[in-house]
């Protein structure tokens, strides 16, 4: 019985509803174009290809899957040397949770631990014609944001007593489709909540986002870039917005700032936007109207995939802790003179 290609076998058997399956029954949704042909009729499960889409939830033995992944990735670093890494790397790209890490015992492909973000860079005032511009990169994900405005006049449907914000998302390649429209809508709503809309009524501010590189965590990178560009343009803001992406694996462990490969393997991931932590000259212990500190608010939350409620709140806590570090980085980069 010749075995030609993984896909055709799968289709053929599901069509015939054969009782005995050659394939591993716990890998139901194979990728359509699978380059890897299956070995001839093994009862044991074949090794899943490394870049399979998020079907990890269906695997019979999840920890075994993770172990296999570890073999391919860099060799496991002992806890002691990881401790050494902590002190070397600069503070804003490193957060660590020792107990959590030992419990998870998961290594990521690029050697980061679960709470570690990729190196951040932010540069402002790059574009000559734009009134404000910023370029934000997290590892290989690079986004360039340009702000024009405020310009006179709003679009027909919008409230003339407020400023309106229009967002144009330009992908790196390809035509503009539904995904881009969704990003535009999310970005517009997020920016509307941080801008002071009543300070320039009946004007339009345009934010144009150009994706330069996409390696996971694209929407948070774009939100950070747009916020920095708005500050560069001098648009009045209530506070800054800091965005982060968290991935939730099926074991319940949370990783921050996943790459594209990691995002596809995760059971669920979410984009979270928090307000930044402000400096205040309020006296210590002043019981203002807010019972909770300002940073406990949340501006936007976009989730992909199904996750348990506990997992969602877990991600929220981790994301909030990480947003403090990003907010500090944003503050320092805004204080440097742009040139």
């Amino acid at each position: 019985f010749p075995v030609v290609e993984g896909v055709s076998i799968h289709n053929r058997f599901t069509n015939l509803k054969a009782p005995t399956l050659i394939l591993n029954p716990s890998v139901p949704n194979l990728p359509r174009a699978s380059e890897k042909p299956f070995a001839s009729s093994p009862p044991t499960p074949p090794t899943p290809p490394l870049r399979s889409p998020s079907s990890s939830g269906a695997l019979r033995n999840p920890s075994k899957h993770l172990l296999e992944k570890e073999k391919v990735s860099e060799s496991r670093v002992s806890n002691l040397s990881q401790l050494a890494l902590l002190w070397i790397l600069p503070p804003y790209c490193l957060l660590s949770n020792w107990a959590g890490m030992r419990a998870m015992g998961m290594d990521r492909l690029d050697g980061r631990n679960a709470n570690q973000m990729r190196p951040l860079t932010c540069s402002r005032n790059l574009l000559h014609r734009a009134h404000g511009s910023a370029r934000w990169s997290q590892g290989d994900t690079i986004v360039l944001a340009a702000v024009y405005g405020p310009k006179a006049g709003t679009r027909k449907g919008d409230d003339p007593e407020k400023a309106s914000i229009e967002v144009i998302w330009k992908p790196k390649t390809g035509q503009i489709g539904k995904q881009e429209k969704e990003y535009e809508m999310i970005l517009k709503r997020t920016l509307q909540s941080i801008c002071l809309l009543t300070s320039h009524p009946n004007t339009t501010t345009s934010v144009i986002v150009q994706v330069v590189g996409d390696d996971g965590s694209l929407l948070p990178c774009a939100i950070n870039a747009s916020c920095a560009a708005l500050v560069d343009a001098g648009i009045p803001l209530k506070h800054l917005a800091v965005a982060i992406c968290c991935g939730l694996s099926e074991t319940g462990s949370v990783i921050l700032d996943p790459t594209k490969v990691e995002e596809q393997k995760m059971q669920a991931f979410m984009h979270l936007v928090f307000p930044n932590s402000p400096l205040a000259v309020l006296p210590e212990g002043s019981s203002s109207k807010h019972d909770e500190p300002f940073e406990h608010g949340i501006i936007t939350s976009v989730t992909h995939g199904a996750m348990p409620e506990r997992g969602y709140f877990n991600c929220l806590d981790r994301g909030r802790a990480a947003s403090a570090a990003i907010s500090e980085f944003l503050r320092r980069s805004l204080q440097k003179d742009g040139s």
């Binding site: 009134h131 004007t203 001098g234 009045p236 506070h239 402000p278 400096l279 205040a280 805004l334 204080q335």
Partner: protein
């Protein structure tokens, strides 16, 4: 996080609370650009340095490419359209500004000036709030012309508002002083980030414009050195 007691002369970002009004009773505080009142606190809207002019004036100093119109600012505008009652002038702000047709020295219905579209005008902002279009005037408060009006010849270029403020600061900014020692030229600086330069020969105009454009992020001595280098190349 340690709470700073005083943020004056320190860099702030939007959202920072710079003043707590509950501790200051019976005081009048004047707020300038970039600050807003939020119940009992004053917080920043823009990123920049917080400045205080004693006794009670606070503002945020920042430099942008766009201009926020303020009363009594002198700006350089470009005529965009003409209407029976006023000229529509672009001053790099969120709205177009109106320059009334009669707002010139000795202006009556009989001698209305004729400006083409694209004329550069040096004017003073008379009314400015966020809701309405700002209003300009080509006379000073006493009704005299005082150098306001259209600017002919020369070359206009755009800068940031921070550089325009530096050029207008007193004592005179080092780059203009150094240029003035060797060359003769005239400039008009608009607080909205436009600078007009006129000199006897085009090469002088280019030299002065380049010197001004490059001086934004240089210190005083660096500006003088840069001007000297440009002069050496000319001779």
């Amino acid at each position: 996080m340690d709470t700073p007691t005083n943020l004056v002369d320190k860099p702030v970002v939007p959202g920072d609370v710079v003043l707590d009004l509950s501790t200051m009773a019976n005081q009048t505080i004047k707020l300038g650009a970039g600050l807003r009142q939020d119940c009992d606190t004053i917080s920043a809207m823009k990123a920049g340095k917080l400045r205080l002019s004693k006794p009670n004036k606070y503002w945020i100093e920042s430099s942008q490419k766009r201009y926020v119109p303020c009363v009594e600012d002198t700006v350089l505008g470009i005529v965009v359209d003409t209407k029976p009652d006023n000229f529509l002038v672009d001053i790099k702000g969120p709205n177009l500004a109106f320059l009334p047709v009669l707002a010139f020295e000795g202006g009556t219905r009989r001698n209305i000036p004729k400006f083409e579209i694209g004329t550069l005008i040096y004017a003073r902002v008379v009314k400015a709030n966020s809701i309405m279009n700002p209003e300009l005037s080509c006379t000073d408060a006493g009704g005299k012309a005082a150098e306001f009006g259209p600017l002919k010849d020369g070359y206009m270029f755009e800068t940031s508002t921070g550089l325009a403020r530096m050029l207008l600061s007193s004592p005179m900014c080092p780059v203009l002083e150094a240029l003035g020692k060797k060359l003769s030229f005239e400039t008009a600086v608009g607080l909205n980030g436009r600078v007009w330069v006129n000199a006897s020969s085009p090469s002088n105009v280019i030299l002065v414009s380049n010197a001004i454009m490059r001086s934004e992020f240089l210190s005083g001595t660096q500006q003088r050195i840069m001007v000297e280098k440009l002069m050496d190349r000319l001779q």
